[in-house]
Symmetry: C2
């Protein structure tokens, strides 16, 4: 099927584009009243994720309502630990919670390998349905959490600022940590491959808690997992986003990926100097700019676009859009990118 | 009074030292069973902070028990907003909570200027008592939160990952934000001056949430406050620690301070290149290293010391010591610094 708008794919492959493509992390979600209306009819987030028709509907909403250049399948990084044997709940205003966690070697026996078309069939169905409904209008992005980030949740069972328990495991039980990280990596690879088979056009790996690791620890424990994923996924372009990981950006640039996502704590030109010219960069407007006036949003977005230079760039925020942002402000961000020359 | 061990002060002033001084953020606290014993007899953390004899006792514990080269007065950065008119509670396992917060212009009327010898007399008494009890053995460090970090708590009322509400205020109500930041800065300056008058030998300003701000926002809102504090406090050496703020380290290096604290997300030599040769650097071992074996701790501590080079360096962790660290591991860290040549 011909892609009517393939800006994202061309930019990811480093090909010439008329203007940078634009999408937002968490574009399908609470910012849209239309999303909240769908969710209000269900028992909660997890039911929405597990109901392909509804997941498809909210995935496409930002394409119709905001005019982004890509859809990203509505799902959660925590479906992987769930598929491995550790179910989670999402507690309103608190975040994810795992009733059971991994604390000792014997806990690993509770985990099993992942068969995406069985354990995660609802994601695969949502992808197939979304591809059909999108009908080639824009590319569909698939995603997974990075093994380190998934490891954090599996050890600690809920959000944390310092993830000291997960880091403690790296020092006290390094072999067990490596075993678990390998199990997560295996699951992530088959999951991403299944998403690609189901139809996604690009995949992104989110290492949301990369920033808590020293470069030493990241290189020792997390990087080998990222390297395996990047080496084994070759069917579509791959984006690595290691939030807070600018202190090992030079190392990330050695990965066999196409695009590197950037948070807002680095200047685009600094990032380009560190990464070199072989990768596309994605990001990186401070998400709080969207609290500013429409004029401020236009000004800061244009500055960002100028610093990235127009090519090998996918415009995005430096993190997910905050749920209380006015959709009109999001539109101003998107339109500013679209009008930029 | 002669200081028997003035390594910290000499290192902070950039003078030649036999070896780097060493202390730890949160050295007086839950890592020590002796601290937990003192606290168990009181109603909680806030009573401990407000009882000078007890605050003095736990301040001196790490000098006696761990052998650090400095004491830091046992207190909390949130005593300043409390003194300004916003009381806080510390909820076990959750963190600080402010029943009232600042949401609109009229809320500012609830706040007042701070008279340290009245509103914060318990801190001043604790400092005087501790100076007497220390009897010149090691310097005593005073401290305050940076205005941006205090602002975050006054707006949001409790801990947050993204501090989106505080950042929203910067965009939507910039004049009100500036007014509040100025009020906090005024209070911080009189508070630090009072601590110095009461006897502290060095002061540290903790910008714990610096890392959530883009360089643009930090420069616009937070930096002018830091500049005023650094320009007005000249009586003793001053340390600025902006956690997560490595993306504006070059700017922090322009401040009129003596020492810059570093988190563990920057290589010591990179920091030295960025900061130049005019400042002492403090830090920056990954706190999770203390979960490692004694051998690992010695190895990683020696590497860090080598990278800092022995002069213009105050050895510390890159953040506060985690409460579940074995005190014997802390001692290994401290002894490794003391034995280093």
């Amino acid at each position: 099927m011909n892609m009517q708008n393939d800006l994202l794919l061309r930019a990811a492959r480093g090909e010439q584009v008329e203007r940078p493509p634009v999408w937002l992390m968490r574009q399908a979600g609470r910012i849209l009243p239309e999303y909240r209306a769908v969710r209000a009819k269900l028992s909660g987030f997890v039911e929405l994720v597990q109901t392909p028709e509804k997941a498809c509907e909210v995935t496409i909403q930002p394409v119709d309502l905001l005019g982004v250049d890509a859809a990203i399948i509505f799902s959660d990084i925590l479906v992987v630990p769930e598929a491995m044997g550790l179910p989670y709940e999402l507690i309103e205003k608190q975040g994810p919670f795992f009733p059971e966690t991994i604390n000792r070697e014997s806990d690993l026996q509770r985990l099993h390998t992942v068969e995406p078309e069985e354990d995660l069939k609802y994601v695969m169905d949502a992808i197939r349905l979304t591809k059909k409904e999108l009908n080639g209008r824009v590319p569909l992005i698939g995603f997974a959490g990075a093994p380190w980030t998934i490891f954090c949740y599996m050890i600690e069972g809920k959000g944390s600022k310092a993830w000291a328990g997960a880091r403690r495991m790296l020092w006290e039980e390094p072999e067990m940590a490596r075993t678990l990280l390998t199990m997560i990596t295996d699951a992530t690879i088959v999951y991403l491959k299944a998403q690609i088979k189901a139809g996604v056009d690009l995949v992104q790996v989110f290492d949301s808690w990369a920033g808590i690791l020293s470069r030493d620890l990241y290189m020792e424990f997390a990087m080998p997992c990222m390297k395996r994923i990047c080496d084994e996924i070759n069917e579509v372009p791959l984006t690595v986003f290691a939030k807070g990981g600018n202190h090992f950006l030079k190392d990330l640039a050695t990965l066999n990926c196409d695009t590197i996502g950037l948070d807002w704590n680095i200047h685009p030109q600094t990032a380009r100097e560190i990464v070199g010219n072989d990768k596309t960069l994605q990001g990186n407007l401070d998400p709080s700019v969207l609290y500013g006036s429409h004029d401020e949003i236009r000004k800061r977005t244009k500055e960002m676009l100028k610093h990235f230079g127009g090519q090998q760039h996918i415009a995005n925020l430096g993190h997910g859009v905050y749920p209380d942002i006015d959709p009109e402000k999001v539109k101003t961000f998107i339109e500013t990118v679209k009008e930029w020359k």
